[in-house]
């Protein structure tokens, strides 16, 4: 079987939180192209319908990185843009985000405490975003700029059968 030729989707979007849902829709559909998951109800486009583990991982991580760019790079200012490149391969999805905002220092993100080892008062109310992204994906890398570049990659587990029509 020949390896599927990588296909690319480009999206330029304001780096503001109110545009995040638009980008999430595109990323969710791109994840479906790789995972082969079908919409639960193809007529209900209002439903987010993120059920497949691969789609869940990709969408969860992307939401956190988009938040990070909009808040920390662009400081909730709507002036900046995010250039998003999504590459779909046979069993892998790569999402690259480029922004021209303030560079981010991942080393300053504190380790997430283990909720089961803590008393209630110590349950975290923040700082979970990067942890979610790193845990959900196979690769997360960041290169400060300008432009600042995030690269997110998720591969299908080798045993996963792709139900592609």
């Amino acid at each position: 079987m020949h390896e599927k030729v990588p296909e690319r989707i480009w999206l330029t979007i304001p780096g503001a939180l109110r545009y995040r849902a638009v980008a999430v829709r595109v990323v969710a559909e791109a994840a479906r192209l790789v995972s082969g998951s079908a919409r639960h109800d193809e007529h209900d486009l209002d439903e987010h319908d993120v059920r497949d583990p691969f789609d869940t991982a990709v969408v969860s991580a992307f939401m956190e990185i988009f938040n990070n760019v909009a808040i920390h790079a662009y400081h909730r200012d709507e002036a900046g843009r995010i250039e998003i490149t999504i590459t779909t391969r046979e069993r892998e999805l790569i999402i690259e985000l480029a922004d021209t905002g303030t560079p981010f220092d991942p080393r300053k993100v504190p380790e997430l405490p283990n909720a089961t080892e803590l008393d209630i008062a110590a349950l975290p109310e923040g700082g979970m975003g990067l942890h979610i992204a790193k845990s959900m994906l196979d690769d997360v890398s960041y290169q400060p700029g300008p432009p600042n570049k995030w690269r997110l990659a998720k591969r299908l587990p080798p045993t996963t059968q792709i139900a592609r029509s």
């Binding site: 209630i120 008062a121 942890h131 979610i132």
Partner: protein
């Protein structure tokens, strides 16, 4: 578009239903409602997550705030119905055990 949350009373127990996407855009409105709920010091509250489709870290933070607030006033809080992406996030953060999901 549906309201992302709803507060109802069921046999004197407060029920908070969270729908759709609980995220950085919708969590601030819910956080205001959570402040009101905590202020009312309910004996018991159930958080129904069966129609929650997506959650991000801001949404998790809002639910943690509710959990802490209710427990700090001696109330009981239970979560029910989490599935799909939200359940995966709770499990990843090991909050499924804290929230007893």
């Amino acid at each position: 578009m549906l309201t992302p949350y709803e507060v109802t009373l069921d046999n004197n127990a407060t029920v908070l239903t969270v729908r759709g996407s609980l995220d950085i855009n919708t969590a601030p409105a819910l956080a205001e409602e959570i402040d009101k709920i905590i202020e009312a010091k309910p004996d018991k509250i159930t958080v129904d997550l069966s129609t929650l489709e997506l959650i991000d870290s801001s949404g998790v933070a809002a639910l943690v705030k509710l959990y802490k607030g209710i427990r700090s006033t001696g109330g009981n809080i239970g979560f029910s119905g989490a599935k799909d992406q939200p359940l995966a996030i709770f499990k990843l953060l090991r909050m499924d055990r804290v929230f007893d999901l």
